[in-house]
């Protein structure tokens, strides 16, 4: 069916994240040899933990060919609530539990609009993005909160590795197992491949899609807490536009915006690390601060471009053949 050349092109497109990662990493390493120092690498991991966790939830959503634009606001709302509780003298564990519950509830609200009221995910999550940010600003009265006590949690180490890295690792591995090894995970892929066919095959697609947005809300809340405990600060800008970084990390990692294709491991994990690598790398080579968004957006654009190329290529390969005899 497929030609050899077509296969090579597909192989490159399918493995674009690894190739891109290697290129960026190699590039910075040659520009500044210190870039490869263990300390710097661990730093990249710590810094990518927050967005990596959010991107993991986003991957679930993207796999069903949906989108969640509200994750930045979920990060903010859950961090703001946690911050408020901690500032008010409540134990950190209670604050964190409340924050997680907020993430799950937020995701459930998105899911309700999308699956029950059948409103497009793009519109639903765009609206709840604004609503969530507005609510958070109301809670914080748009003032920044300083919570130095939290930084201790954020920088605590377990077996020599910082806690955020452990959490990042645990989330990614758990998500990978769920996606690859459970019926829920495989149903997510089936829905992304053919939503109508999934329904016909007897899959409860409403339930699966509902849960996917809950997972995204949960991950966004965790990402918000990781961010909060790393900086010990709730600023009005917390999580602002982070949905783009999360989507970019997932797509950079090879998750398709068209659904049904992509993995958390190594995909999204690498994607999040790649975005952070680009930012850290720019700091390392002392690039102008104003260049950051340009470079990052170029990398994101490139990843989405590759995804779209791959989609077109796959469509071509899938096109119905009329002349069977001629093509074998």
């Amino acid at each position: 069916m497929t030609t050899r050349k077509g296969n090579i092109v597909l192989f490159v497109l399918n493995n674009a994240p690894l190739i891109l990662f290697a290129a960026v990493f190699g590039g910075f390493a040659t520009l500044s040899p210190k870039f490869l120092a263990v300390e710097n690498l661990v730093n990249i991991l710590i810094q990518s933990a927050s967005i990596g966790i959010v991107a993991t939830g986003m991957t679930f959503v993207l796999l069903t060919a949906g989108i969640d634009l509200s994750v930045g606001s979920i990060m903010f709302l859950s961090a703001a609530a946690a911050g408020k509780l901690i500032a008010g003298g409540q134990p950190i564990s209670l604050a964190f539990a409340v924050a997680i519950a907020i993430g799950v509830g937020y995701g459930a609200i998105n899911a309700f609009f999308i699956t029950r009221l059948k409103i497009l995910p793009f519109i639903v999550t765009l609206s709840t993005q604004f609503a969530g940010r507005g609510l958070s600003l109301l809670i914080t009265q748009t003032r920044a909160m300083n919570l130095p006590r939290l930084v201790e949690v954020g920088s605590s180490k377990i077996l020599g590795m910082p806690a955020p890295v452990w959490l990042f690792g645990a989330v990614v591995v758990f998500a990978h197992v769920v996606l690859m090894k459970t019926a829920f995970g495989r149903h997510i892929y089936a829905i992304g491949n053919d939503a109508e066919g999934a329904k016909k095959a007897g899959i409860n697609t409403t339930r699966v899609v509902f849960l996917v947005y809950v997972v995204s809300g949960l991950c966004a809340a965790m990402g918000g807490l990781v961010y909060l405990s790393r900086l010990g600060l709730v600023s009005p800008k917390l999580g602002l536009q982070r949905e783009f970084a999360a989507i970019a990390a997932a797509v950079l990692g090879g998750t398709s915006l068209f659904g049904g294709r992509g993995k958390v491991l190594p995909g999204t994990f690498l994607g999040a690390a790649l975005i952070q690598t680009v930012e850290s790398g720019l700091v390392f080579i002392k690039a102008s601060e104003y260049v950051y968004p340009l470079v990052t957006s170029f990398v994101i654009f490139f990843a989405v471009f590759v995804d779209s190329l791959r989609h077109v290529k796959l469509q071509q390969l899938k096109r119905r053949r009329i002349r069977v005899a001629a093509t074998g």
Binding site: V178, K181, T182, K200, G260, R321, I322, R323, A325
Partner: protein
């Protein structure tokens, strides 16, 4: 083994008031293969969709193994033991073979409260099932890496895994090579030996005679022939399938085509889709394109209109070559296109009738600066076009396209092109799903357009209407033009033969 496993009695079904199945009865016995044949639109798919739980019958009864069978959805029919293998296979290409087999009900084991799929179990079960259909691929391989023939086998293995008692196969060989077809047949014969019943739908009458034990022939939603295959020959099947008398009314053609070419196609090819298509369409001519579903008719129309690309050849519209894929440019140069599926592609369902009519010609009502649409003039033109096609609707401005009948919807689509005064019309199944009266009006509009000098390419599955309306008919099969005949030579059986016989060639 001759116990009845499935019995349909007087099954009737209509779509939008148009009957597609009228009192159809059939009997399927255990361990036998029933072949169902009929022209496109004879009701085969509708009948199977009812059995498979995709559609519900309006009336009539279906008994499966002595119990009433009225599945509400495909999953329910599947649980009842009916596996429906569609022409477009129902597999998830991004999942593995094993996962596809068990997608509806994965066997699970709980590890630390996490319900994991029993990978080894599904792998081993799948391996056994694949072996039973002689398919030697890994249970772990992704479906997208399999050939169409292998995917078909996966579907069959899946049906076996669900312990299906009846397997429905809808045109299973259209995307298979002849070797794959051979293999499919030997597997099906083996399954029959194991007592599994099958319903086999195909246009390939040779295959049907070769494989099936019983044959049922549908025409216009009625059973017109039924019995063991020994009672049938190829000739008899064809004449039963097409044997309707030509008493349907067609308007007489009011003008003859002129010698001026409006559309010329030269050795048009697109690998895997079309091969060496060449024809000329004259001013005032209605040129029919016949062929079975999947013969490349729609693909040809899409390429002509610039919706898909082509690799080699030339398309000349009024003498000027068309190269790039651009419907916009073609509209500008005088081509109009009515899609096969007007509901999805040809109409804005929630827009008003007049807005739909004005859609294509919007730019020409916005010529004067500053490029704003001259709405009153546009509406007057839309009203004139609506009158020209004798559109029946309560209000041009308030009624939405959705609320019109099929025939009137089609008239809206025609009216919208009339405003642009095209010189070439490409009409893909313009009378599908509309009632006889509306059909006649569509024919009449076609005749008027041709009389005014337009060239019309008329694609249809109904041979009668082509014979009733066209000056010439081209027959397509497997992406090629297999025959061409002028009005005086029209012969229904010959057209049918040209469209079918390709299958019998090596």
């Amino acid at each position: 083994m001759s116990d009845t496993i499935l019995e349909c009695r007087n099954v009737t079904k209509s779509f939008f008031g148009v009957p597609v199945l009228r009192n159809v009865s059939l009997t399927l016995k255990a361990g036998r293969v029933l072949g169902i044949v009929g022209e496109n639109g004879a009701g085969k798919s509708t009948l199977m969709n009812i059995l498979g739980g995709v559609l519900r019958a309006d009336s009539g009864s279906i008994r499966l193994g002595g119990r009433n069978h009225a599945p509400q959805n495909p999953a329910e029919a599947f649980r009842d033991g009916i596996a429906f293998i569609h022409q477009e296979l129902n597999l998830f290409t991004n999942l593995s073979v094993a996962e596809n087999m068990f997608i509806a009900a994965f066997p699970k084991t709980r590890i630390v409260r996490l319900p994991l799929i029993r990978r080894r179990e599904i792998r081993e079960k799948t391996r056994a099932l694949l072996a039973s259909v002689d398919l030697h691929v890994s249970a772990e391989s992704l479906v997208e890496d399999l050939s169409p023939g292998e995917r078909q086998m996966v579907e069959i293995a899946k049906a076996l895994g669900a312990e299906a008692r009846i397997i429905i196969l809808d045109e299973p060989t259209t995307s298979l090579s002849s070797r794959e077809t051979q293999r499919l047949f030997s597997i099906l014969q083996r399954l029959r030996g194991q007592g599994i019943s099958m319903i086999y739908i195909s246009h390939n009458l040779g295959d049907v005679l070769r494989l099936c034990d019983d044959i049922l022939i549908l025409r216009d939603g009625r059973v017109v022939g039924e019995g063991p295959k020994e009672e049938f020959t190829l000739e008899r099947m064809i004449s039963l399938m097409v044997g309707r008398s030509m008493d349907q009314l067609y308007p007489s053609r009011s003008a003859r085509p002129s010698g001026e070419i409006v559309l010329e196609v030269k050795s048009l090819s697109e690998p895997g889709i079309l091969e060496n298509i060449a024809f000329q369409l004259y001013k005032g001519e209605i040129l029919g394109i016949s062929g079975l579903m999947g013969s490349g008719r729609t693909e040809l129309a899409r390429i002509l209109f610039g919706l898909d690309a082509f690799e080699r050849g030339e398309i000349l519209l009024n003498g000027e070559p068309l190269k790039r894929c651009s419907p916009h440019k073609r509209i500008h140069r005088g081509m109009a296109f009515l899609t096969e599926d007007r509901r999805v592609e040809g109409l804005l369902m929630n827009a008003s009738v007049e807005d739909n009519i004005a859609l294509v010609s919007l730019p020409s009502f916005a010529r004067a600066l500053p490029g704003l649409v001259n709405r009153p003039e546009m509406l007057r033109a839309a009203g004139r076009a609506a009158k020209a096609v004798r559109l029946q609707c309560s209000s041009l401005s308030r009624q939405t396209a959705k609320t019109l009948s099929g025939g009137n919807q089609q008239k809206v689509v025609l009216a919208k092109w009339l405003l642009e005064k095209p010189s070439v019309f490409v009409l893909d199944e313009p009378t599908r799903g509309i009632d006889v009266g509306a059909k006649f009006e569509v024919y009449r509009i076609m005749d008027e357009l041709a009389a005014e000098g337009a060239g019309i390419l008329f694609i249809s599955s109904e041979i009668e209407e082509l014979m009733g309306m066209c000056d010439r008919i081209l027959v397509m099969a497997y992406g090629e033009i297999r025959g061409c005949m002028a009005r005086t030579q029209f012969d229904k059986e010959k057209i049918f033969r040209d469209a079918l016989m390709e299958n019998l060639l090596p």
